[in-house]
């Protein structure tokens, strides 16, 4: 059994690899400068010079989408990394020391889960003001609870196993046990969750920037491109079609990878869908 046998997961990995290459080598791969305006060439449909057309300022849409992979991937990976770290720390502490601390942490999780995630992110991003970092903060605020819950559950089950008792009789400290013994054994569900999670984060970030909350205007952000493009739906539909396609393909790729990893690493979770 190998992840390569799973066609969809393989397709997901190939697409993600391509996105990473686009992001890393954007200056080499983009046909034009994504910021340079040439008003004489605004709203041109797809043609040989501009494969995805130009926007209202005459900027190359393809180049802006290529540069946009940078922001999307940074947000997706940044939020997922931070959410995972917060979730793992709180989940491990809650699961390991069940009792008062567990009760408090899990009630905090309950309160955060009580907010519909996107709405809370919207409010946090709206109050913090524009900027990529603020989007990362907003989506981390709403993203860590799932990881904390899953880790806590896994730790609760794992710490009852005999080897943990054995390590304890050797006099190992709590921190040592958590980091050295529990963490490696509860990583599987986290890896699965995080890989699909990147896709959801990118989707949510696109939604926020579509609503005008995110990186500031000249930045090539996919969601914002859709937002500005919608005014030209009639005359320049390519402004709506291509950035949306970019978002959808990226989200699909991470979902495929997440599903594939789930089937490979943990067949018991086959029927679980994270949202």
């Amino acid at each position: 059994m190998c992840i390569l046998e799973n066609k969809l997961a393989f397709a997901g990995m190939v697409i993600i690899a391509m996105l990473v290459i686009l992001a890393l080598f954007a200056p080499l791969l983009a046909p034009h400068d994504p910021y340079v305006q040439s008003l004489g060439q605004s709203l041109i449909g797809p043609c040989r010079d501009y494969p995805f057309g130009t926007d209202e300022f005459g900027r190359c849409v393809l180049s802006r989408i290529i540069y946009g992979t940078r922001i999307s991937l940074v947000i997706g990976l940044g939020v997922t990394t931070m959410s995972t770290i917060i979730g793992v720390v709180l989940g491990m502490v809650a699961g390991f020391h069940n009792g008062r601390l567990d009760e408090i942490i899990m009630r905090v999780v309950d309160v955060f889960l009580a907010f519909p995630g996107l709405i809370l992110a919207l409010v946090v991003a709206g109050l913090l003001g524009p900027g990529t970092l603020n989007v990362v903060i907003a989506l981390t605020v709403v993203g860590w609870m799932g990881y904390a819950r899953v880790i806590r559950g896994a730790v609760l089950a794992e710490k009852e196993k005999e080897y943990i008792g054995a390590v304890q009789t050797f006099g190992a400290g709590d921190c040592y046990i958590m980091l050295r013994h529990l963490l490696p054994n509860v990583m599987t569900p986290i890896v699965v969750m995080a890989s699909a999670g990147v896709g959801y984060v990118i989707l949510a970030a696109a939604g926020l920037s579509f609503l005008g909350l995110g990186a500031e205007p000249p930045a090539p952000v996919w969601g914002a491109m859709l937002n500005y493009g919608k005014a030209y739906l009639q005359s320049a539909p390519h402004l709506t079609i291509f950035p949306g396609l970019a978002i959808m393909i990226t989200v699909l790729a991470f979902n495929f990878l997440g599903d594939g990893l789930r089937d490979q690493l943990d067949p018991r979770m086959k029927n679980l869908h994270f949202r």
Partner: protein, 315 residues
């Protein structure tokens, strides 16, 4: 069961209390001087004076310590008074009540739309397992579950308003106004429900009682709809409940695109205007809806499927 309801209700109170604190902390963590922002919203940036800012600070109670402001706010919302909009000056509760019907109408229409798509698609897909139709439904469901709703909305407008002129681009009032927003909002939900019905039907159709029903010579139609679908539907109901929460999230974006005058649009507009009183009230309301829906879903699950017991074990 009674114990479980009591426990969950207790949790509900803790959660709602926590939500009020979280909401309030959020508003106070926001950078910038609230009084100054209100003044800018009311009088504009040009004719702004320090006196006006101080007047607003005192009249809005923004000069008191934070915890005083919190209890002041809490005691008022306990009486149903959410304060007044910092921008328009109207009572927030009045504004919110005026917006609820539009959101409710949109949510219910989307839900009905999603079921009208999902039930036939899921059943056909399971009955014709591994056929051409089944693959088509599965691909459709996968695309429907991942397509960003704001993009779907724009594509629908492009196709049905701009190109064919069948439905209005945005607005509220007539039946044709609701079609595109409801389809946008219902598509993702239809995709998830279709998958579940398909999986549930496949599982149920393998059961002995289905074979026995067929052996009795009961018509295939009756076997599928009376015996199979009914049992495949239990998990679907709970997921529909969970989806209702996500539907609430979706209304924020969909209402903004289609200028649908509901709570979601109110929230987005008040975020743009930094109208703190309205933001607070909306967030609180969304959170309470969300918690209540989840509670109802859990209770419904216990009632529908008596094998499930929440009393045992740690929740």
């Amino acid at each position: 069961m009674a114990h479980y309801i009591l426990k969950r209700s207790g949790l509900l109170i803790i959660v709602v209390f926590g939500v009020t604190i979280a909401t309030f902390v959020l508003m106070n963590m926001a950078p910038g001087d609230q009084a100054e922002m209100v003044a800018i919203a009311r009088y504009g940036l040009e004719n702004l004076t320090a006196d006006e800012i101080e007047n607003i600070r005192i009249s809005e109670g923004l000069d008191a310590p934070v915890w005083v402001q919190y209890f002041h706010w809490l005691s008022h919302i306990a009486q149903g008074d959410f304060g007044h909009s910092l921008v328009t000056g109207d009572p927030v509760s009045q504004e919110i009540i005026a917006r609820i019907p539009a959101t409710l109408l949109l949510s219910i229409t989307s839900l009905v739309f999603s079921l009208l798509i999902a039930i036939p698609a899921g059943v056909i897909s399971a009955v014709k397992h591994n056929s051409f139709v089944d693959h088509g439904v599965r691909i459709g469901a996968m695309l429907g579950a991942t397509i960003p709703n704001f993009w779907l909305a724009l594509l629908l407008i492009l196709l049905f308003s701009v190109t064919w002129d069948w439905f209005p681009v945005f607005g509220y009032g007539t039946a044709s106004h609701i079609v595109l927003p409801a389809v946008t909002l219902g598509a993702g939900m239809a995709a998830v429900t279709t998958r579940l019905i398909r999986a549930g039907m496949l599982e149920v159709l393998k059961q002995d009682y289905i074979i026995s029903a067929r052996a009795h010579g009961i018509s295939e139609k009756r076997v599928i709809f009376r015996h199979a679908l009914k049992n495949a539907f239990i998990p679907v109901i709970t997921v529909i409940g969970m989806q209702l929460g996500h539907l609430l999230e979706g209304t924020v974006i969909v209402e903004s695109i289609f200028a649908w005058p509901g709570l979601g649009k109110l929230l987005v507009d008040s975020i743009y205007a930094r109208d703190y009183a309205v933001i607070q009230a909306c967030v609180l309301l969304f959170a309470v809806f969300f918690v209540l829906i989840n509670l109802l879903v859990d209770l419904l699950y216990v009632i529908l499927d008596p094998r499930i017991r929440y009393d045992r074990g740690a929740g």
